[in-house]
């Protein structure tokens, strides 16, 4: 079996990951496991700092050090809001502002996977006021999952009710969006 990440090397690590309650089988090679942050349970004496620097060092060794030094100076990612650079973030292990999350977005999944046991997406509370349509959106998602189940169970009467509820919520969302934009 080949590695699902690089599709080159043979997969040597096989395990099941549980993310948001869904089980997925993972088959990766040693190199990708490290690089993509699949090694979820750090050994004893782990610290986030080591974790981050270890992760990034791996990146740079791949690139070759000479290439990196000339490369980082010119094209290094920098947050437009707080001016934190990617290398500062690596060194400190802390974000400078909310915008950093967008600036460094492409580099974050492996870090989050390592720190949060394979997870990269939030699955919890939404701000009550600021969350706005997100609450409705979440509700619609739940109804939709419910609907699929009802159809699979051939409970069509129930399913019709749920479908109406979804329509109602979607209309409400449209109204809200229109309201927000005016």
């Amino acid at each position: 079996m080949e590695c699902q990440e690089c599709q080159k090397r043979p997969a040597t690590l096989h395990f099941t990951q549980v993310i948001n309650g869904n089980k997925t089988e993972v088959h990766v090679c040693e190199v990708c496991a490290k690089e993509k942050g699949y090694m979820t349970y750090p050994e004893e004496g782990y610290s986030l700092h080591h974790l981050l620097s270890g992760l990034f060092n791996f990146d740079s060794s791949q690139m070759g050090s000479q290439q990196e030094s000339s490369f980082t100076k010119k094209d290094e990612l920098q947050c437009p809001k707080c001016e934190m650079t990617l290398s500062e973030f690596k060194r400190v292990g802390k974000f400078g502002c909310a915008e950093c999350y967008h600036t460094f977005a492409g580099r974050l999944d492996p870090i989050f996977r390592r720190v949060h046991s394979g997870n990269t997406k939030h699955h919890g509370k939404i701000p009550k006021r600021k969350g706005g349509n997100l609450h409705l959106k979440k509700q619609v998602q739940e109804y939709k999952a419910n609907l699929q189940q009802l159809i699979a169970d051939e409970a069509f009467e129930e399913a019709a009710k749920i479908r109406d509820k979804i329509k109602e919520l979607q209309a409400e969302m449209k109204d809200k969006e229109a309201g927000d934009n005016s």
Partner: protein, 354 residues
Amino acid sequence: MTLQQFMNEAISPWMREDGPDSDIVLSSRIRLARNFAQVSFPIIAEEADLNRIHQFFEQEYTHASFQDYKDFEFIPIEDLSPIEKRVLVEKHLISPHLAEKSKYAASLISKNEQVSVMINEEDHIRMQLYFPGFQLNKALEKAFEFDDWLEEKVDYAFDESRGYLTSCPTNVGTGMRASVMMHLPALTMTQQINRMIPAINQLGLVVRGIYGEGSDAVGNIFQISNQITLGKSESDIVEDLESVVRQLIDHERKARQRLMDQSSTRMEDHIYRSYGILKYSRIIESKEAAKCLSNVRLGIDLGFIDDIKRNILNELMVLTQPGFLQQYAKKSLTSNERDILRASLIRERIQLEK
């Protein structure tokens, strides 16, 4: 000031109440980290921005009340003496990290000391709610309501896919640490705890001693908390933590029973020796005091000692910390002086029970 008066001021009112399973779980806590969307995080923010946040909290929440959490006091860290800071840390109302910061760091504490909000710590806002005994669900419910109340006036840094955005990647998502403080003397005596900790770690939970340094659990008091904040909902995190705590309570009760079945006289001897030390010693180090307090508390739970209230352990664990001793003495003390005062304060506290 008499000891009674001092204790009335020193011990958080909620600590006097009994909660579910409070023979083993001393307290439950929920902490939520939040940030202002438009302001850089404290590690990098301009002073003027941090000052704005500081002033915002002072103006909006001084003497404000929310449900049972009344008459919030706004305390700029800068205004505190080193001993006063230490006392707040020992009461777990502020973190050591906040105490070290001074400019623009502040804390907002409800009259009953059940809620404290740390301002301009690693994140702009870290609110924590405490409940006596094992009440994580209640604590979570109240923390959500309190969070909503703050959000009425604060635009949180929130992202649909990453959740609540925090300065450290280890807190992103829910921004939540749920924890319980547990007294586990029998699991420690039988050394079962050493085998259980790695298994608990495997489940994404962290176990550590509360007092003392490193993993050394002084007074056999352990804190269990979640490590993962991203990808699981708050209630799932709490549920997972709860089920582990349930099992620990169960194992601890069984271990206590087994110790009693095997050697109740030995246990009684062990407990009364500790009681004797607390009652009669004239110099006592904090480690020895913690060990004896843990034994006496176990003696109360097992029914050997019936003339002392259970919360003596929680109370004296806090009161015999260096910061409190120095506040009681109203001056700084050498470690020898502290050991003498600690012994006398414990003797006096036991006398109060009569």
